[in-house]
């Protein structure tokens, strides 16, 4: 529905259109199809690539419908449309998870501080909310403004969900456009959530060098009462920490966490510790080290009550999104709930943040008193004994989603040898299917306790937004290409090989002077490797948004600060207005900012949504091999596709013949291939000769190292002789002759604007 005067008036009111910080751009608070033409332009080059899980559609009672061999379902949908619909549903799931998280935080903080509570991200962050500014046209000033942001996201979600109903959308491309819209909203939701918690819980901001904090299950003092927070919402944990401090016992307990709540816990108190990523959830909970398990939301195992019961850990569930069928104690008095948990061993649901935090602080020292015998870590002797019942039937191998040779490792453990089991543990994604399948009930995950490293590591406390001053410093080198790129390593821990690969990839690019930004489980994994001197990448590299920097922005919702940094480059360096100007900003990023995401272990729908949101704003994403199971990618075909763009200065269409960036969302099979692909996807048409030389130098160097030759697509990225890295000059020149390379046109202001029908004038991209 196009916007009428009433709706326009409503939007103007929401975004305070009369405020003159920037003129209101063409798309304030876009609805689900308002940026469709931009999406279709992207999808013309980066076409959807589908890998269906299933041949049928089983969504309605017409079905099941066979969609093989060009057959259509009873409703008329085809296999491509059905995959597009899956993609939209994944995007909606992810966006809803972040959106509901943000909604909870905003509502909680408004109850606490009121709607007029000011947003202040410190002296170094003036562009506080680039997503809200760019997408909505609103410069948020208060918690009440953040509420407007989440209301806008919620409105978009209802339209997205409606399109997935049978008899609604049928075109794969339109499903993708809607997915991109929801992905864009996801970044707004994440931004709202992280700004809300940063101001509400007083997390560090405007500081680059945040402290280092403890990381790894080995860093936990199990002789102290231990609480383990699992999930992605730190509201209750912050209240609990306050109560522990008030009671004067904070130093006598261990506040630990798994997944993103732990990121936010260490932003609240650097005495808190991170156990590790999601893949270590079941492993750690089975150790019994946690006297109290406190769940909130997102990425929490569905069988936590069972796991907690098995080790005698107390359990408090605190979110209405994960209630586990537990009795709701929200209405009871604190002391009564404490009694039920401590004396009767009751697992409880408490939906009130303040009450749950207070109960947790009171329960923790009490439940810990009688659990010392439950915290016995499995020794090698014990593991050998536990493994004896294994008959090497290999059922564990067959159900392992990471194809690990568990049965051979168990056979070795039976003989007292642990090297294979250590290797299995390093690759274990923590699903627990092996144990579930075992007819002999071998406690495989417990046995891993004897094979795991109990080392301690350091992680940089999440720092939240990138500072404006940092953007001012690096904006030009990023756009010119002399800083070869921004590598954002984010997402979950469904890694295809050893967890250490994340640290290895991060360090490779840090050494090469890319800017390496991390978040979420990936930021944890990156800290879980030490060099010969015992240092992690957080010990070794500066935490600045600058060439060779390695920085952790925080939990998954802090991803909005990474994508926001790309928007800030367009705004602070290139002086493009953000306000309701999404198409221009996305076009700028796509064509001129060499930023690429890596989600090496993605498993969640949230990761899919974040990636799709990145794609709409012009940031390519590289995924690990598990991500083929998302079923949808956005790929170009470098030799066949049309790489024509507009030269914004000359206002002429130019066939650049240059596939940059080559894909928007691509799966790579190995770490080595991923690194090569990341280097290639940082190439942009806007690179100066000097910048292109630097980027090609890294691309060639990585390619030669891992593939043994010059890249066989090098001719696509050399525009003229000046682009050739000096160190490879002779070799590359000879190669180019053999493939009949010819110089390509140069242009200084590449843009998609003008290559498709749009209301945006080409002049809008020229500043």
């Amino acid at each position: 529905m196009s916007k009428g005067a009433v709706k326009q008036k409503e939007i103007n009111k929401i975004i305070r259109a009369e405020d003159n910080w920037e003129p209101v751009g063409p798309t304030p608070m876009p609805e689900i199809s308002d940026l469709r033409r931009w999406d279709m332009r992207l999808l013309k080059t980066y076409k959807p690539f589908y890998a269906p899980f299933c041949d049928v559609c089983c969504f309605c009672t017409y079905g099941k419908c066979d969609l093989t061999e060009d057959k259509k379902g009873a409703c008329g949908i085809n296999i491509a449309g059905q995959q597009g619909r899956w993609g939209l549903m994944f995007s909606l799931m992810g966006c809803s998870a972040h959106g509901a998280h943000a909604r909870h935080l905003v509502d909680y903080l408004i109850e606490k501080y009121g709607e007029d509570y000011k947003i202040d991200l410190g002296g170094q962050v003036d562009v506080e909310a680039p997503h809200m500014r760019t997408v909505m046209g609103l410069k948020p000033e208060t918690l009440g403004d953040l509420k407007k942001g989440i209301e806008y996201v919620e409105r978009g979600i209802i339209h997205g969900v409606s399109a997935t109903h049978m008899g609604q959308e049928g075109s794969d491309l339109d499903f993708e456009s809607k997915s991109m819209h929801i992905g864009m909203l996801d970044h707004v939701a994440m931004e709202v959530a992280d700004i809300a918690q940063t101001i509400g819980f007083k997390f560090p901001t405007s500081v680059a060098e945040t402290p280092l904090s403890g990381l790894g299950w080995g860093s936990v003092d199990k002789d102290k009462p231990v609480v383990t927070c699992v999930g992605h919402n730190a509201a209750v944990a912050t209240v609990m920490i306050d109560h522990l401090m008030k009671a004067g016992i904070y130093d006598q307990v261990e506040v630990t966490g798994i997944c993103c709540t732990s990121h936010d816990n260490i932003r609240y108190s650097d005495k808190a510790k991170i156990i590790g990523p999601l893949s270590k959830q079941i492993f750690f909970l089975k150790t019994g080290i946690a006297d109290l398990v406190m769940t909130d939301e997102q990425c929490v195992r569905c069988d936590i009550p069972e796991l907690a019961k098995a080790t005698g850990s107390a359990l408090i569930a605190t979110s209405d999104k994960i209630s586990y069928g537990l009795d709701d104690m929200t209405h009871k008095e604190v002391d009564e709930i404490v009694r039920l948990v401590v004396e009767e061993g009751k697992q409880v649901l408490i939906r009130d943040v303040d009450k749950a935090g207070e109960v947790a602080a009171k329960v923790l020292p009490l439940v810990a008193k009688n659990r010392k015998d439950k915290k016995v870590i499995v020794t090698k002797d014990m593991a050998q004994e536990l493994a004896q019942t294994c008959k090497t039937c290999q059922l564990c191998d067959r159900v392992c989603p990471n194809f690990l040779n568990i049965s051979d490792a168990l056979a070795d453990v039976q003989k007292g040898k642990f090297d294979l089991m250590s290797a299995v543990f390093a690759r274990c994604v923590g699903c627990g299917k092996c144990e579930q399948e075992c007819a002999k009930e071998v406690p495989i995950i417990k046995i891993m306790q004897a094979a795991a490293s109990w080392d301690t590591y350091n992680i940089r406390v999440g720092r939240g937004p990138i500072q404006d001053v940092e953007i001012r410093k690096v904006g030009a080198p990023i756009v010119l290409g002399t800083i070869p790129g921004i590598i954002a390593i984010v997402g979950c821990s469904n890694y295809p090989e050893e967890i250490e690969e994340v640290a290895e990839i991060a360090e490779e690019f840090a050494k090469r002077k890319y800017i390496v930004v991390l978040s979420g489980c990936a930021a944890m994994a990156a800290g879980m490797k030490k060099d010969a001197e015992g240092k992690t990448i957080y010990d070794k590299y500066k935490p600045e948004f600058d060439a060779g920097g390695v920085l952790n922005v925080g939990s998954c919702v802090a991803n909005a600060h990474i994508t926001g940094a790309a928007m800030k480059v367009a705004n602070i360096f290139a002086k493009l207005p953000l306000r309701a100007n999404y198409e221009v900003i996305a076009d700028y990023i796509l064509n001129r900012v060499g930023a690429v995401g890596l989600v090496w272990g993605s498993y969640s729908q949230k990761a899919f949504t974040i990636g799709t949101g990145c794609n709409r704003m012009g940031i390519p994403v590289v995924l690990g091999p598990h991500s083929a199971k998302y079923r949808r990618l956005y790929l170009s075909r470098k030799e066949e596709d049309d790489w024509t763009v507009m030269d914004g200065r000359k206002k002429e269409l130019v066939n650049t013949e240059e596939p940059s960036p080559e894909h928007l969302m691509v799966v790579t099979e190995s770490k080595e291939r991923a690194m090569i692909t990341l280097a290639r996807l940082c190439i942009r048409k806007n690179d100066t000769a000097q910048g292109r030389q630097i980027k090609l130098n890294h691309y060639i160097s990585l390619y030669k190292q891992h593939m043994g030759s010059l890249p066989d697509d090098l001719q696509n990225f050399v525009r003229n002789d000046k682009d050739i890295p000096i160190v490879y000059k002779k070799e590359v020149s000879e190669y180019l002759k053999t493939v009949g390379w010819k110089p390509k046109p140069l242009l200084t202001l590449p843009t998609f604007i003008g290559t498709y029908e749009s209301n945006i004038p080409i002049d809008a991209v020229v500043k």
């Binding site: 690539f49 093989t68 790929l635 691509v666 790579t668 190995s670 593939m707 030759s709």
Partner: protein
């Protein structure tokens, strides 16, 4: 069709592979192809079958059949070390993205391939890629040469132990030569 060895590849659908118990039959099918392609993945560099590298089996099959080679992931380096320059280098999803276009000119620019074999790709990624071809590339047939059932291929080996896999590949090569 047998249950795939790895449950992550369990079949959910209508159109599943034909399990080729007899390597000679698979060899006959391969020999009928006009423009065969062998896609080699990184596992080819990690597996040794009774003293012979899986990669060497791949090279021998390609040479015997006259199939073009596409190297995925980072297996190109090992191919070059073995003295073989692959006809193309793409990652798995990239070559599949090309193959699904019936008008594509193929890795040798002679026309798209009509028979595509896969060896050494990670099992879950392989089965997903084969699903793409099953649904969007009716113009070609696919076969897997790895030791497990891949439900989304047209032709798949049965689930085999390493010794039987080696035997299968040896017999298939004999079949290609005959």
């Amino acid at each position: 069709m047998s249950l795939p060895y790895y449950h992550v590849n369990v079949f959910t659908g209508i159109k599943s592979c034909k399990v080729m118990e007899d390597p000679q039959t698979l060899a006959k099918i391969a020999k009928k192809a006009q423009r065969p392609l062998l896609v080699l993945g990184p596992k080819c560099g990690e597996v040794n079958l009774g003293g012979k590298q899986l990669l060497d089996y791949g090279i021998e099959i390609a040479k015997t059949l006259g199939a073009a080679i596409c190297a995925t992931a980072n297996i190109k380096k090992k191919l070059l070390e073995a003295g073989v320059t692959p006809d193309s280098t793409y990652d798995a999803v990239e070559i599949i993205n090309h193959l699904k276009d019936s008008d594509w000119k193929g890795v040798k620019k002679e026309g798209n391939h009509d028979f595509v074999m896969f060896l050494g790709i990670r099992p879950d990624l392989g089965n997903q890629g084969l699903s793409t071809l099953k649904h969007f590339a009716g113009h070609l047939k696919t076969a897997t040469l790895c030791k497990y059932v891949f439900p989304n291929a047209n032709f798949s080996l049965p689930n085999l132990k390493d010794d039987k896999w080696k035997e299968y590949l040896d017999n298939m090569i004999q079949g290609l030569k005959s």
